[in-house]
Amino acid sequence: MSAIAIPAGMPQYDDVPRYDVAAVRADFPILDREVNGHRLVYLDSANTSHKPRQVLDVLAEHYAMHNANVSRSVHTLGTEATEAYEGARAKVAAFVNAPSVDEVVFTKNSTEAINIVAYAFSNASLRPDGDPRFRLGPGDEIVISEMEHHSNIVPWQLLAERTGATLRWFSVTDAGRLDESGLDELVTERTKIVSLVHMSNILGTVNATSRITARVRAVGALLLLDCSQSVPHMPMDVVDLDADFIVFTGHKMCAPTGIGVLWGRAELLAAMPPVFGGGSMIETVSMAGSTFAAPPARFEAGTPPIAEAVALGAAVDYLTGIGMPAIQWHEKQLTAYALDALASVPDLRIFGPTVPVGRGGTISFALGDVHPHDVGQVLDSLGVQVRVGHHCARPVCTRFGVPATTRASFYLYTTTEEIDALVAGLEKVRKVFG
């Protein structure tokens, strides 16, 4: 290979960020276990990720040493718990380059975060003084895509029903990319919000959003990106991405279940009416009526998942310590390896991009006409854990004419040996059902 020499002192061709995968694997206790007499091969991180000891320790330590309710106690434990909880918010804000810590709202998961935005629309639509950007009625339009997880479809269907607005969507190309050909007809002056997946949980596609953002800005709509599958796997910069809201969930990024994030531009969160009423979200309460706290507290009614939030902060520290560019690069290499390896399996059809460009390490496929349940069962007997089914993205399955798919998904601890085990397992599937 001939290459132009890069002057010394400049970044070189093979100067890619790397880390020691074996050392990372040693941080995850579960990776040592066996499944059905075989070494665990976990290829289901798009569903939920495993948790490193560093996160599990923080979770246990919080309950063992700092347990108290937050934002309401003057005592020492309460202060420690509050500092840990708010400290986690600051870590998350830095992780996604949020301009302000107050732009990070803790939620239960991505689903709840999307529902908070959808219900803010509906509540603003009911109030005469509702901010016009959040008021929806007949004639207004909401735009999503065919590529969404159900959590970014159903809340908008319900919102459209409640307000009389119309739901429209981008379609998906045969190659598994977002079809932007009708962008100008789809996103118009009638559009109030565009809510799109950043990385598809079933096709693995990473959507390039800049054209869409430009169009959204031109028509004065808002843009929400579902980053559940992207924030865990690549560097995230909300300023650079130029979205209005992003949502993601802790359990897919080495943190516990029960903690998610809604990030929103400060002035938009400030313009949104509350969704859940209760403790912590108020300014003052009287029997005649109440006024509400500023964001993020306005959207965090009741005792939040404190330990889970603190552990999410620890997960962010862990991922940052390894380096998100290095994790992204590792997964890109795995994806290229897996796409090649899967191409060697007879009768295997990949749904989604077949090149490791504009896609992440989540690969859905069909093996001949063997049902994904049967594929998953045989793989499980060999210790290989994949997800089978419609992956909460049934419209994608319908688009490609299948009831379900088999999906392998990778993370920072995945190895090429595990992809080899998958390919060997698929050979066994072909033997049983051939």
């Binding site: 994904p372 349940h373 049967d374 499980d380 419609h390 009831p403 379900a404």
Partner: protein, 158 residues
């Protein structure tokens, strides 16, 4: 895990060469015909079961669907076991199959009652797959009730 205990040869045979597949009209125009369509929302498996009966005998139990080997083989066995049976007998078989599948592998099936259905004993040890095996049987129960058999508790042994 013994994969063979789940994927018994009998099950794979029924899956690869299903018996009586395809929805059929009643041979006798006087028959009552009804059907039920059931879906497993977690995996998207679907089956439609159609029952043709004069109220006493199930003249035909036909079906169509798409899904995994377990659900489709189960539909084939359902057809084989229940077609031509008296309604009362059919529900005894139905009950024995449901009991087998709910038994977490602790129930010993009676081959005289369940025929090829005994091959599903292994499936009962896989909680994630029990629903697959039961899908056509639950659809059958609804279809039979709609055709006017099996709805009353006296016809279904408690």
């Amino acid at each position: 895990m013994q994969l063979e205990s789940l994927y018994q040869e009998i099950i794979l045979d029924h899956y690869k060469r299903p018996h009586g597949r395809g929805l059929r009209d009643a041979g006798d125009p006087a028959s009552r015909v009804a059907e039920a369509h059931h879906v497993n929302p977690t995996c998207g498996d679907e089956v439609t079961v159609r029952v043709a009966t004069d109220g006493a005998v199930l003249h035909d139990v036909s079906y169509d669907g798409m899904g995994c080997s377990i659900s489709q083989a189960s539909a084939s066995v359902l057809h084989e076991l229940l077609t031509g049976r008296a309604a009362g007998e059919a529900f005894e078989v139905h009950e024995a199959f449901v009991e087998l599948m709910s038994g977490r592998g602790q129930v010993t099936p009676d081959e005289d009652v369940l025929g090829d259905g005994v091959a599903f004993a292994g499936v009962a040890r896989y909680p994630a797959r029990v629903k697959c095996a039961l899908l056509p049987w639950m659809a059958f129960k609804d279809a039979a009730a709609r055709a006017g058999v099996g709805a009353s508790p006296t016809e279904v042994k408690a």
